[in-house]
């Protein structure tokens, strides 16, 4: 397992361009103002929420057990301790993981943090009591129990060994809360912030901003470098671009489309730098298998074959937050398909004319030459509407006349959940790169209730049940290809272009490194200002 991880790590550093590391010593002081590309989130409880609006506003206040290495966040396999003292080796059967907890850590109210607090937090995440919501509860299906034999130790016992355990554990939402507060009220953290992270809460202005000040008792030596930060909610993109230009804010951490990056480069020159990375998000084309004629594999396949992903992704990368062609696994992961492997799949053929000829033939064979339908899409520009508009034009090239039915987020989700659509453009956006867990979203609805394509496929389940407990990277890779091929052969669903994250920021911001997800590496502890 360690070997596999190491190999994966090496492979990955070669794949993702590492940021040129500047050998500068961080400076203390300064105040960072950044924007959150959303309106204020729902509750403040990271365990129950899923929108980054919450995470970007709260992560600097909290510690976690383990995390993606903040100095190497683009790696998909490099996990390091935050509150633990050393990354543990599992027991021989890979079922027991023992973490030693750092001593002398204090919550912002001065109370000491012990393994009991870590335990209480993890129990809330893994096995929440009745009436308490845990959004990622389902990703801990492998956990048998969490226990704490003493004040310094946390033990995770697993039901089966799996590669997906560590990434799930390093999920950035798994904040450590105070046991005392949780015992008083399990919902206390929905309205309050109290952690042990690099920053203490200063003020929270409803709907507008969050301010944090340096935590002098922080346990990582020297950190945090900033005296404080202000995070401003700014949902409109034009405002965010202009704010960076006028230095009202230094950056936003999510992503900006190419036109905005280009504009900032043009206007600010060397006063702005941009970090970019493939993104563990993408759009998924989901035909509703329960609706005629999409119950016919030929029709579904024809729709996929009509799309020129290679040329499209390249062109769209100039106008939308997309870039890389990929399939069910994040392109930067060692488990992802190579370009040669992809080109075997329907919808990825290198010869688009041949592909479209085949699409037309399939439609004719299925008697659907004059196919017309609505593509269900979400009223979000980047990149849903751009990708959707592009796909419609691609389909028109094989004679399919589709129109877009664009609805706001709520009705869009509802239409998919209730099966009230013909073909939908969905999003697939996972936080930490965890391929084994991530591919669960492609599984038929008897395994994953939230797959709206509405198909059953025992073969897929069979492959997946072998994949989950597989800890050998080579074998897992083979199984992953089988799964991918099965999904594609049956034309269940199609991944269309992975998103591409570009974060332009004022060049005085140093120390932060981009990762494949806008959820990762957001505690701001290693950021410093060179002013």
């Amino acid at each position: 397992m360690r070997k596999a991880l190491l190999a994966a790590c090496l492979g990955l550093t070669a794949w993702l361009l590492p940021q040129a590391a500047e050998a500068q010593t961080p400076k203390r002081g300064g105040h960072l103002t950044y924007m959150i590309a959303a309106d204020g989130g729902p509750s403040l409880d990271g365990h129950r929420e899923t929108t980054y609006a919450v995470l970007h506003a709260t992560a600097p206040f909290y510690s976690v057990l383990i995390r993606v290495n903040p100095e190497n966040p683009s790696s998909t396999t490099d996990f390091t301790c935050d509150l633990c003292t050393e990354m543990p080796k599992p027991s021989a059967d890979e079922l027991t993981w023992v973490f030693k907890i750092r001593q002398g850590v204090k919550f912002h109210d001065g109370e000491p943090l012990s393994a009991k607090d870590v335990l209480a937090s993890w129990q809330k995440i893994v096995s929440p009591p009745a009436g308490v919501a845990s959004a990622r509860h389902a990703s801990f299906g492998m956990v048998e129990s969490v226990t704490s034999p003493d004040d310094e130790t946390i033990v995770f016992k697993l039901k089966f060994k799996t590669m997906s355990f560590l990434p799930s554990l390093a999920d950035p939402w798994n904040f450590i809360y105070s046991k005392k507060r949780l015992e008083q009220d399990m919902h206390w953290y929905e309205k309050n912030i109290l952690g042990s992270g690099p920053f203490k809460l200063d003020t929270f202005t409803i709907g507008q901003s969050v301010k944090g000040v340096r935590n002098p008792d922080y346990y990582w030596p020297g950190q945090p470098y900033l005296d404080g930060f202000t995070a401003i909610f700014a949902p409109k993109q034009s405002v965010r671009v202009e704010a960076i230009r006028a230095d009202r804010a230094a950056m936003e951490f999510r992503s900006m489309p190419p036109a905005a990056v280009e504009q900032l480069n043009k206007e600010l020159g060397d006063k702005v730098v941009t970090q970019s990375s493939d993104w563990n998000c993408g759009n998924v084309l989901t035909p509703n298998h329960k609706v005629k004629p999409f119950d016919d594999v030929r029709v579904r396949k024809a729709l996929f074959l009509a799309i020129d992903q290679w040329k499209g992704a390249q062109a769209l990368s100039k106008i939308a937050v997309v870039k890389t062609v990929g399939s069910i696994v994040f392109p930067g992961s060692p488990l992802a398909a190579t370009k040669e492997e992809l080109e075997q799949l329907a919808g990825y053929w290198p010869d688009i004319e041949k592909s479209r000829a085949e699409a037309r033939r399939l439609l004719k064979e299925a008697g659907q030459e004059n196919l017309t339908f609505d593509l269900l899409n979400r009223n979000v520009d980047q990149p849903y509407l751009i990708v959707g508009t592009w796909i419609l034009d691609e389909w028109s090239k094989i004679g399919v006349k589709a129109t877009q039915k664009v609805v706001p987020t709520g009705p869009w989700l509802d239409a998919m959940r209730s099966g009230n659509f013909t073909v939908a453009l969905e999003a697939n956006c996972q936080n930490i790169v965890n391929p084994i867990a991530d591919v669960n979203r492609w599984m038929p609805y008897n395994v994953n209730q939230e797959n709206f394509a509405g198909f059953l496929d025992p073969t897929m389940i069979e492959i997946y049940s072998k994949l989950v407990p597989e800890t050998d990277m080579t074998k897992a890779r083979v199984l992953m290809r089988q799964l991918e091929k099965r999904i594609n052969d049956e034309a269940h669903q199609l991944m269309v272009t992975f998103w591409y994250r570009q974060v332009p920021m004022r060049s005085y911001v140093k120390g932060w490194k981009i990762s494949p997800s806008h959820y990762l590496n957001q505690d701001l502890a290693n950021i410093w200002l060179d002013k």
Binding site: K236, S238, A259, K318, N379, T389, L392, V406, P408, P411
Partner: protein, 302 residues
């Protein structure tokens, strides 16, 4: 999305100029001479109507075809107004957009206007409880924020052109009905309606023959004002993501994604659709004002 309710005094007397009836041409000529701004407005409206209805003949390109080899190109001889982010010809999209604007503007103004006319006249004529109830309903719809109505319509039916029209039409109805009602009330008090009733004429005959023609002036003014408002409302809905959707060429939609992202790097994407909206609404309003001045008897003899 508010309405400027023109202050209407007494309704136009139908037979104001019966004595000497000038020919249509003479009337037009007089309109042109006395209302240069109104004529300019009318000219803008005619240009819009002609380009919209003959889009296929005029537009140099297919308005929905993507061309990835010509993305965000500045205006040139090949693309007179440049291209948008999908490489689509802006001029062609503007020309087809005129059609969408006309469809949205005219149909919501006409449908909203006619329903408003019927309800307004009916409410004024029957009076009593019917009037009271209708008034409350108008109040509710007028006070209700458009965005909620629009969101409800769009969420339930989706964002087609016809649904946008529905969303825009609903709030127009009570505004039109209000204006028509107040004019109709004044007429109702005039003895000849009572006389007509005494003669035993049917309700429909009295309403159609006597009341409707007399509220025509405010009604027409209201409708012209509504056309402009509908075009603007479509743009505002698009800005909130509830308007007409890609790839349908529509001005408001063109202003939404493009205007924000490319306002600085490719300003033509933002400027031309904005100008198109401004000019068309300006045209409709100038024409409407001139028509009010011409139709309103108080304004006539100046």
């Amino acid at each position: 999305m508010s309405t400027t309710v023109p202050t209407m005094g007494l309704p136009a007397a139908v037979d104001a100029s019966l004595a000497l009836r000038p020919t249509v041409w003479m009337r037009c000529l007089r309109f042109v001479r006395r209302e240069p701004l109104g004529t300019f407005g009318l000219a803008l409206v005619i240009v819009m109507a002609v380009t919209g209805s003959m889009a296929e003949l005029i537009a140099p390109y297919n308005p929905t075809a993507n061309d990835f080899s010509a993305m965000t190109e500045a205006p040139s001889w090949a693309h007179l107004l440049g291209t948008d982010q999908f490489g689509r010809d802006l001029l062609s999209r503007l020309i087809y957009g005129a059609r969408t604007a006309m469809i949205v503007g005219l149909s919501s103004a006409l449908v909203g206007g006619v329903i408003g006319l019927v309800l307004g006249v009916g409410s004024a004529y029957f009076g009593g409880l019917i009037d009271l109830v209708m008034q409350r309903i108008f109040d509710i719809v007028m006070a209700f924020p458009l965005i909620i109505l629009a969101l409800a319509v769009v969420s339930i039916f989706g964002t087609g052109v016809q649904n946008v029209i529905i969303a825009i039409t609903i709030p127009l109805i009570p505004r039109c009905a209000r204006v028509v009602r107040s004019s109709a009330l004044a007429i109702r008090e005039i003895p000849y309606v009572d006389a007509a009733r005494a003669c035993g004429f049917s309700h429909s005959r009295i309403i159609l023959r006597h009341m409707v023609p007399n509220v025509m002036a405010p009604f027409l003014i209201m409708i012209t004002a509504s056309v402009g408002q509908a075009v603007l409302a479509e743009a505002s809905l698009s800005y909130l993501g509830l308007g007409v959707q890609e790839p349908v060429p529509a001005w408001g939609l063109m202003l939404q994604g493009g205007a924000e992202e490319y306002a600085s790097t490719a300003p033509w994407i933002a400027i031309f659709p904005g100008l198109a909206i401004m000019l068309s609404v300006l045209g409709v309003n100038l024409f409407g004002d001139a028509m009010r001045d011409t139709l309103d008897p108080k304004m006539r003899n100046r």
